[in-house]
């Protein structure tokens, strides 16, 4: 086609003469490689973005609020089954039982952190009540805590498959107890 057009403008007679000697027609071949490259690039992009952008969710169940007009009392629990965790920023203060609590400190490290404390308590509960699932964890968040600490502690519950846990508001006494404990650690 291109040759004919060129011939039209310059010397039409010559063009016609040349046309006599016919070359065998070649099928035009388009090099598809760049297109394929681009295609696969896009394909990879979309494959990766679709699988990466699915956020996960962690279900949380909180106990209903018990007000004075409700005729239910807060459930009573045996002292020996309980462990209370007071969660601060990156730190967990814990005590067992209910009467005359003695605070200890731990953190979220995978070895020797709060997980080990909980597993130990489970064994104690199992020795006493025959079933480690009897253990009850009470989680109280200190005001200094961040959202990360909250997710971390709930995550620990999921990791050790602790079903019985409750998120409870912290009392003033407990917050003071933690402050006191921190001072003690600093001075010693």
């Amino acid at each position: 086609m291109a040759a004919e057009v060129g011939g039209d403008s310059g010397a039409p007679k010559k063009g016609k003469k040349k046309g006599k000697a016919r070359k065998p027609r070649k099928r035009p071949r388009i090099d598809m490689t760049p297109m394929v490259d681009l295609g696969f690039l896009l394909l990879t992009f979309f494959v990766l973005t679709t699988t990466m952008s699915t956020p996960n969710t962690m279900p949380v169940v909180v106990p209903p609020k018990i007000t004075e007009k409700d005729e239910v009392e807060p459930p009573k629990i045996a002292e020996g089954k309980v462990i209370t965790l007071l969660v601060g920023r990156g730190k967990v203060y814990y005590y067992t039982g209910i009467e005359k609590p003695e605070l200890h400190q731990t953190d979220f490290s995978p070895q020797g952190g709060v997980r080990r404390v909980l597993l130990q308590r489970r064994q104690e509960v199992a020795a006493r009540y025959g079933n480690p699932d009897e253990m009850i964890v009470i989680i109280k968040m200190l005001d200094e805590a961040q959202y990360k600490d909250f997710v971390d502690i709930l995550d620990e519950m999921n990791i050790i498959q602790q079903r019985k846990y409750a998120l409870v508001d912290i009392t003033k006494e407990e917050a003071e107890m933690v402050e006191e404990y921190k001072k003690q650690i600093k001075s010693s």
Partner: protein
Amino acid sequence: MSKFKAKKQNIAIDMTPMVDLAFLLITFFMLTVKFRAPEAVEVDLPSSIADTPLPAQDILMISVSGDGRIFFGVDSKHVRLSILEKIKERYGYSFSEEEMHIFSILPEIGVPFEQLKGYLVLREDERKAIDKRTSIPVDSANNQLKQWILFARYSNPKLRIVIRADERAPYPVIARIIETLKEQKVHRFNLITTFEARPQKVS
């Protein structure tokens, strides 16, 4: 050397079927991909071992920024518009057609009701600047988050509530949100986290 040596031929593989397939897949992924809507707050999610994917629809999302500011969002345009209707009824504001349209396409809102009208008439970049300092009030005296949730659940009772908070968000803000949810008898909700591998030894 021989006269009858076969002519060397360029090997050409017909790539057409492969290309067809590649473009078919591209089309598929392009159509199915759902880009995350640009969110009003940047959030660094904490990680957990939770692996339940977020449901695709009927989401009521409460976002909390790293400095503890609260944003509210629902995923459906329809619900957003009926929330705006409720706000009009309840607080006696009026919104123009244009303002309603802007409200319906905003994924998240983080301004008090009083500032909402002023917020909607702004340009996009001005809105972004405002998003950096406002929050939905949650004080017990003026708990507007409660109103937002109420309006949203009234429009779509099936809404599932998720909290999407920055890992540095102060806990007292989260506690206020949980308290607000409890007041409305919502005791089951979800926290959005990124996935982290489950630790190997749990004994």
